[in-house]
Amino acid sequence: MKPAPFEYHAPTSLEAALELKAQHGDDGKPLAGGQSLIPAMNFRVAQPSVLIDLNHVPELRHINKPNGAVHIGSMTLQSTAEHDALVAEHTPLLYEAIPNIAHPQIRNRGTVGGSLAHADPASELPVVALALGAKFRAQSAKAERWIEAKDFFAGLFATTLQPDEILTEIAFPTKTPRTGYCFTEVARRHGDYAMAGLAAIVELDANQTISAAKLVYLNVGDGPVDAASAAASLIGKAPDAPAFKEAGRIASQEDMSPYGNVHATPEYQRHLSAVLTERALAKASEGAKAAK
């Protein structure tokens, strides 16, 4: 239960970190909070030859709101975002989701960018990012680009980051008018990996009918699962129980293919997802009615 040997670098600027990443490519594994990577190294499931510890790069820890999005530096601690006033006021979905990430001890080390780049299908932040349409800033020594959430996740524990790129910042769009949000999940114990869960977004028009909806699920596929046909079924309908039930049915039966795990069979994950869909849509719709 001890990591295999590796070469350790702790750059103190983004420039130095990007140079190291350019030099080592896929062999140079960025170390963020280490709350998933170091357990994997303890098991020797992961044996990176070079670790690039990003904890001393000051450019990667910030939260600000330049224009229509809350920008969070990739090395911002989850516990920092959890208690941040900008996050609480402008990105309610993210604010509601963060306390569901593991335990306080983990959130005190775990980072927002680390969780997203790890791309665990059971984790909360990829679901939030995909639901909100967040943008990911990827930088290399030569260039930088912004990646849409739908293009960032590339299957189990995989992203479209290139070998010389580091995720430096994530832009979460701020809340919009007449829109409600809900994040909910079910775990065996608080903080455990959830058996099922989702982020729901509902927008109502002036007639109080649903004009836009988004439903994204965790732990029921290779990454965050966008239930597009379930969301489409809601458009033009009144936000009521029959509409929510039908959306839950479509999402759980048609939009997802859960694998099941030691705690829940695929059938049970579908059942939970359907029930949680109804609850999340009811709460998000109430939020949308209350939102100006």
Partner: protein, 162 residues
């Protein structure tokens, strides 16, 4: 690849300087290099919470951190709680009085989780206590006495403060 790096860590208020391999886990540094064996190592992959310490005042799991990452930082272990051998911390006293432990393996991690929790939550509910210790596994007590001890500790800390 026998790279070693010099590190300087403040452990329970005392400066410790050592040269360590980058792959040395912080929990093992505390136990084997500093010699403080109160920090227990259970699952070694961040699940059981036995190795919880305070890192710059905040509870973290020392088995999923590298010792080199503590360079320049302050850590507090369970040995740093009591003022002296016969003058335990109020939380330790409460655990003693309310039978908050049986075998004691999980206790250091639970204490280090609860110290900052009770600083921020002066009058926690039972549900809040259960959530606070949800990241710490105990295989003896069934948790009831741990919850009782924590509520008693909150009371004791409030008395000390008054």
């Amino acid at each position: 690849m026998s790279q070693t790096l010099p590190i300087s860590v403040t452990v329970n208020g005392k400066a410790v300087e050592k040269s360590v391999e980058p792959r040395l886990l912080l929990a093992d540094f505390i136990r084997h290099e500093v010699g403080l064996t109160g920090t227990h190592v259970g699952c070694e992959h961040g699940v059981c919470g036995a190795c919880t310490i305070l890192f710059d005042g905040k509870p973290v799991r020392s088995c999923i951190m590298l010792a080199v990452q503590a360079n320049g930082h302050e850590i507090t272990t369970v040995e740093g709680l009591a003022a002296s051998e016969d003058n335990m911390h109020p939380i330790q006293n409460a655990f003693w009085e309310a039978h908050g432990l049986q075998c004691g393996f999980c206790t250091p991690g639970i204490l280090m989780t609860l110290v900052p929790f009770l600083e921020e939550n002066k009058d926690p509910s039972e549900a809040e206590v259960r959530e606070a210790i949800s990241g710490n596994l105990c295989r003896c007590t069934g948790y009831q006495h741990i919850v009782d001890a924590t509520l008693l500790a909150a009371k004791k800390l409030n008395e000390v403060a008054e």
